[in-house]
């Protein structure tokens, strides 16, 4: 009976705790950069787009056909920018991606620039007419069977969240409301979070949207604090529970049955660690620490065995 319960607990924890692995699924990325206005913003926007695009390609294995970068002027970075970020081009990019996605895939839309408007008419300044939050809501409605991660890193982006949020959607904005219109610094730490291991709080080799958001939010606070400035941007995340389940990066799974078995055994041990943690408050501290160390050593040994098995032909 005890055994059955434990197994049931393990199954539940695997179902609830495991992030949707963006590597196992296919990831599609659309990066849209708006009008810069001033040279320093241009450099910043271009760098953000390039870093994210490079990482998508190299770290997440996103196919070129699933990676679209639109910018103010493609000549500014021909290596990355595929087209001009006009309203028509953006609409067309969504259509192109809709032809490539499969059920369960992840679509990451990253929007950067200077924001304007409010409510459903919130927008980011793009060359020509600006698409509104309502326009983006219409465009992503075509991805009903995919998970869409929509990030608006622009100033005054807060009103995008209520307009775009919904089932299967994780929406991130750099600001809480459309009124927070000062220039934002959110984009850089958020991209750093997605493209390095720094934000990987649970050290599972993948960065969830929640981890990236949390990392970026802390970094934004720190940047303002160091400069002795009042915080004028308060990032928002639409769905923290779902954001924990969508992750980017991670090692490719092995097809070696020995490795698969070892990984399963390690997952079982990790689940035991989680179960022990859940009992921490009601367990004697000495017993808890002794059991924790025992389990963690077993996990560590299992990792060692996995690495060794992976190296063997």
């Amino acid at each position: 009976m005890r055994m059955t319960l434990r197994t049931l607990g393990l199954t539940l924890s695997l179902l609830c705790g495991s992030a949707l692995d963006a590597h196992a699924q296919r990831v599609h990325v659309l990066i849209i950069t708006g009008l810069a206005g001033e040279p320093q913003y241009r450099a910043r926007f271009l760098e953000a787009a390039a870093t994210l695009a490079d990482s998508a390609r190299t770290r997440w294995g996103v196919a070129d056909s699933s990676l679209i970068v639109l910018g103010e002027d493609p000549a500014q970075d021909p290596k990355h920018i595929r087209g001009k970020s006009t309203k028509e081009e953006v609409a067309s990019a969504f259509v192109r991606l809709s032809h490539r996605v499969a059920p369960g895939d992840i679509v990451l839309v990253f929007l950067n620039g200077h924001g304007a408007g409010e409510g459903p008419t919130s927008r980011v300044n793009l060359p020509g007419p600006d698409p509104t939050a309502a326009d983006f809501a219409t465009w992503i409605s075509g991805f009903a069977r995919q998970t869409v991660v929509f990030v608006n890193a622009a100033s005054g982006s807060g009103d995008f969240v209520p307009v775009l949020a919904g089932r299967g959607r994780v929406v991130v904005s750099a600001t809480k409301t459309a009124i927070e219109r000062n220039e934002t610094v959110f984009a850089k730490p958020f991209i750093r979070a997605l493209t390095t291991g720094e934000a990987d709080a649970d050290k599972d080799g993948r960065v969830s949207v929640y981890e990236a958001f949390d990392f970026a939010k802390k970094e934004v606070g720190r940047l303002y604090e160091v400069d002795n400035k009042m915080l004028t941007e308060h990032a928002v995340l639409s769905d923290t529970a779902m954001a924990r389940t969508v992750a980017f990066g991670g090692k490719s799974g092995s097809s070696d049955p020995r490795v698969i078995a070892l990984v399963a055994e390690r997952q079982e041990l990790e689940s035991q660690v989680a179960a022990l943690r859940a009992r921490k408050a009601t367990t004697d501290s000495t017993t808890y620490e002794r059991e924790l160390e025992r389990l963690l050593l077993l996990v560590a040994e299992k990792s060692q065995a996995i690495r060794a098995a992976g190296r063997k032909p």
């Binding site: 720094e198 050290k203 720190r222 160091v226 660690v273 943690r277 963690l296 996990v299 560590a300 060692q304």
Partner: protein, 819 residues
Amino acid sequence: MRATAVLLAALLACAWQQPADQRAQVRALADAGRLDEAERMARGGGASLQASLGEVLVMRGRLVQADSAFRLALTSDVAGRRTAEAALAELAYRRGDRAEAFRRASVLAGAYENPTGAWSADDRVAAGRAYVILGTRNSAAVRQTLAAFDRAVAADSSNLEGRLRVGDLFLEKYNAPDAKTSFQGVLNRSPDNARALLGLARVAEFEGKLESTPLLRRAIVANPSLVSAQVQLARYQLEAEEYDSAKVAAGRALAVDSASLPAWSMLGAVAWIKGDSAEYNRTKGAAERLSSKPGDFYAELAEAAIRQRRYVDGMRLARTALAIDSSSARVLGLLGNNQLHAGNIEEGRALLERAFAIDPFNLWHKNTLDLLDNLRTFTTIDRGHFRIVAPPKEAQLLATYLVPLLEEAYDSLSKRYQYKPSGPVRLELYRQHADFSVRTVGLAGLGALGVSFGPVLMMDAPSARTKGEFNWGSTAWHELTHTFTLGLSNNRAPRWLSEGLSVLEERRARPSWGADATVEFLAAYAGGRLRPVSQLSDGFVRPRFDMEVILSYYEASLVCEMIEQQKGSQALVAMLTAYRDGLDTPAVFARVLGMKPEEVDKQFDTWVRAKFAVPLRAVAASDGKGEVGGAFVSTMRSAMTFMSASKLDSAKAAFQRAQLLFPDYAGPSAPAFMLAKIAFDRGDFRGALEQVQRVTSRNETAWDANLMEADLRAKLGDSTGARAPLERMLWISPYDIAIHVRLAELASRAGDHATALRERRAVVALDPPDPLDARYQLAHALADAGDIPAARRELLGVLEQAPSFEKAQTLLLELRGKP
């Protein structure tokens, strides 16, 4: 001259004037300080001018005669009877007969609230005066006071008395802007009105502005008999430690009004500070004769003692004052604040709450009580000789660095000054400068970085200011030095000596710490704008220009440096003990230096001119008007112009010329730093290092220069040497995680596990973006340092959160089985 003619005409005309005009003339004469003539005229006016006569007699300190005149006025001076009633209440209050004072004031206020006849502007002023007395027990009366004075002005816009009283009331209730408007309103009608000028001087002092003293002097010129102005001057001089001048000013006040308790209090304060017990007893006797409740006499003494940093004595005197008048918000506040400064937080809070209940307008008390609520959330860390109190977010981080530094300072200073504080030294650090300022003086806006109240120190946390604005290590060392120098001198060291020693000790602690010669200092010194040694305390308490306080710190440190150089370091200690023994500055100079003050002044001037002979030739003497000039400044300007135009060879040549003109200059855009940058960009790393060290060895806030030095040493393979600039940077700002990581790595590579461990702990305390990795690195450092159990504990904590963390798993396996 013009004023005299007007007054003469007024006197000649008075024979046929109406009483109302005559009263105005008496007042005009009194306002000009011509009290003899005012009295003569009032006496000549007979019964109808008795109230006016009484007012003049009060100004002259003839209180018994004044009392008789007022009593006569109650029945014979129809127009002046309400003024007489108010004045009688005030006289009763002055002599300590509070019951009589309140009875008379209540009657007058009652009549005002239920009027049966006409109330002139003067009558309304009288009602306001009654409310002032009632307000000492009931803070709500303040509004009625203001309304009465306002109505007096509304009834007669030329009534200056009403406007002056409004100004005084606003100032008493901490509303400087409105007080200023009222006093300006008086001056618009009467440009030489001494009381309005005095009011503006007090407003300027309240606002911390430099024009306070000039305005006060204008008031005294306008009316040399204005007792309150003379008393104010005496207070300023007492604060500047010019005791003889203070005594003269108080004496002038008493020559006019021998019954002035504030003037006797000033004389008493001077006598008490100088240890002149006969004179002190004389003043005390006078105060006791004047009032059966001379609480204000002791309050004034307490304030003077505290201004002289004699906190324990100040509190004792304040307690005496409180025993006389337990409802004095002034004394309760004074005692409460000093309990707080002594580190007795709960006692201080209780006293301030009592004070605030009596005077809810007091901004200082309100701010301080609000801050105390916030202080409850602070973290207290007791280690060794110190108690560190800081915001929880950074208390551990700051204590990690501060405690070893302060212990080092404690050892060094206790040996040099042969003094040890009796208990732990409390250091409070504030993330908001405004909080530090409120904790110190009750209001935001204090310019200082730190303050010492002996065994209690307060300072800005490094997070309170922009990086590069100050060095928090040298600031802590500076403040702690005060604990020792004030302790040794029994809090009698004058301001200049205490500050000078603190700056000197900063320089002794670390070569780059402490103030250094600047262009502004040399220009001001050459221009004769800085005070001679014998008057140097004035430069701190009565600055004549914006930078004088800052420059006086450096000047004071040079005085100490000269004394040490010429007489040995024991001379400085001997000076402190001489002050402790009650000697004044001339006597201290005579005993320790064998010189008169003017000889010390001369010797210092010669010494400074020799020490800075080279740069003084290249910096033009400044009169404070316009920009600083001279060959150094013009050469630097041309060098920067070349730099902006990317003409690097020309820029380099110009910077080299500038460096010859002022070789030790290490301030902003120092030639050495610019030359280092040019050399760095050209790949001349050795040349760049040689130059940049000239900055990092003299400038305690040079973040960029220290970073450059660390980079250069790394490029040149000097990983050991690269640690020193990184260590210096931590005292400029401890919040840069990259610097801590770099230092940890260098220390670890050098086998300095203690430093590596400290740095890894600092990274964790800074709540880094990747906390688990930081804790893993800490575990690694603990293992390297041989503390395996702690390393294991840390690792378990990490893996508990992230069981899949491979690096941590590997280390855990490595530690298995190790003891």
